[in-house]
Symmetry: C2
Subunit: 332 residues, 2 copies
Amino acid sequence: MEVIRIASIREVARMAQVAPCTVSRALNNSGYVSEETRKKIIKAVETLDYVPNQWIRNLYHQSTGIIGVVIPDIAHPFFSTLSSCLLNELRKHGYNMMLCSTGTDKNREKEYLGTLERNMFDGVIAGVAMLSDEFYMQIKKPYILLDRKVPNIPLVCSDYRKGGMLAAEKMLADGRKHVLQLCSHILFPTPSYESQEVFAQFLQDHNVNVLTVKLDLWSTMKFEDCFENAQKILQQHPEIDGVFGADLHAVAFLKAAMHLQKKIPQDLSIVSFDGTYVADMGIKSLTTVVQDIQKIAQKTVQVLLRKINGMPIKEDHYYIPLQIRDGESTLK
Amino acid sequence: MEVIRIASIREVARMAQVAPCTVSRALNNSGYVSEETRKKIIKAVETLDYVPNQWIRNLYHQSTGIIGVVIPDIAHPFFSTLSSCLLNELRKHGYNMMLCSTGTDKNREKEYLGTLERNMFDGVIAGVAMLSDEFYMQIKKPYILLDRKVPNIPLVCSDYRKGGMLAAEKMLADGRKHVLQLCSHILFPTPSYESQEVFAQFLQDHNVNVLTVKLDLWSTMKFEDCFENAQKILQQHPEIDGVFGADLHAVAFLKAAMHLQKKIPQDLSIVSFDGTYVADMGIKSLTTVVQDIQKIAQKTVQVLLRKINGMPIKEDHYYIPLQIRDGESTLK
């Protein structure tokens, strides 16, 4: 066996002729220690090659107190808000958060998850999941997915189907006939994509035309690009009288429509999805399907901690209720 | 001495009768391993109580490959963009990023920095610094500040003085006489605050009235609150003909002014600071002092790595150039 010798804090204290708590204070800068005592402690630390790190012991017991959080993009308002809420929740329970943003790069996700297997994380919360089901199923450590259904791995997400329905009902109430929906490119049928499916199906069942445009949502966050894109689409499709898309794109359509002299909401109903702080930044407040991001974070951390502590969880899938908030971008 | 015995990968391989690289492949899921071989390896791992973790060795050598990033709020567009750029830069050099958001809580910052001393981080990048100079000066590990001058600790930030001057010149060119500047509450004179000082001084020297309002910028990101605040200020001070503030607040003033039937830019010049993606989300694009966030991240990581590798750095303070981008919210 390879052997690493680790001096204990007691040995350091004995050599420096002080109490162990004094060593701790000196090393953590957490209270008064006289200069003379500090020097003695430092000498003892150096002599014994003491590593003042309980992590070594933690790691030996396969626990680091770190949770990995994998998201496509930190700069995106939904994921920055989610990360903020997750960090607060994790901190309440004494965990640190390591962030990874993958963009649309599968290899980056894979590389990052390798770190999980090399014991760096006690668990992972994944807002993005681009690999095969098998990949996730062989992970032994606690793993929570936020937008992918994989057998035996807990899913915590908004009730996306309900969200799609709420938006569709709004379009129908406003009497819209040519509705545009903005989607992201997806590799797998994801729960979030279900909001789009429900939205389109419900409207088509009611004889509303639905035009679907796929966007690369995780490219660099340039509002200018969203705005140009919105202008182009509205010019190419003057018949469009309703738009459903994520906050950022919905605000871009609001701005583009007003630049094209369309009256909002008379000429065009806009319903946004997510309800982050950017949804209100346009000149009119948007009617928005609001995700309860704080609740998602709370439930996610709750389920993760149960998994880490080897406790059973009640369900495989947790759907967090969402609500529609009326703004100035719809008639009814 | 306390002794932790750590089985080497070679011993696992010997017991499982396979090559060490096969053990590595099996444990990292990084290539094909037959089911039978995998079972043998798992049995050997369990028998030897093998911890497949090079971190234990890394930690023993006082290196974890983790950089701590301390910011006031991840959800804020400037800090989410900065975090995104820092993560990309750190990743290029093989480092992981652990995020801490402190809000305005000094104790939270202190607690987090304790982790640095307990060897969890190889270095820290601090976008917020609320403690005393002495606190930072006794930190032995590499530490980069982004908005605070402390002796012997590198500072990397925008050329804030220049930023304040650019905004002030714009107000003067537009012939403004009653200019509002929005500041954050500060505990220490920070480099970012210098943009405010230069802005006010330059305008006052040119007989322009400057009204300063202090806001709590790091409270929960509610655009609604920013908007209400903007409406209130514009109603209380109808003489205001210029506004200078961070992106989010500048957009709120744009919206509030238009709701109050003010013409932009004829009645009111607005110049925003930061130039993140939200600066364009209003109905008119804002004239903006744009921070080169990517360049800040690059220089910060460059300086940090030199410190980590014990190389000398040329300067104590690095000022990254910034530019003004003309939008539709100023006359000239």
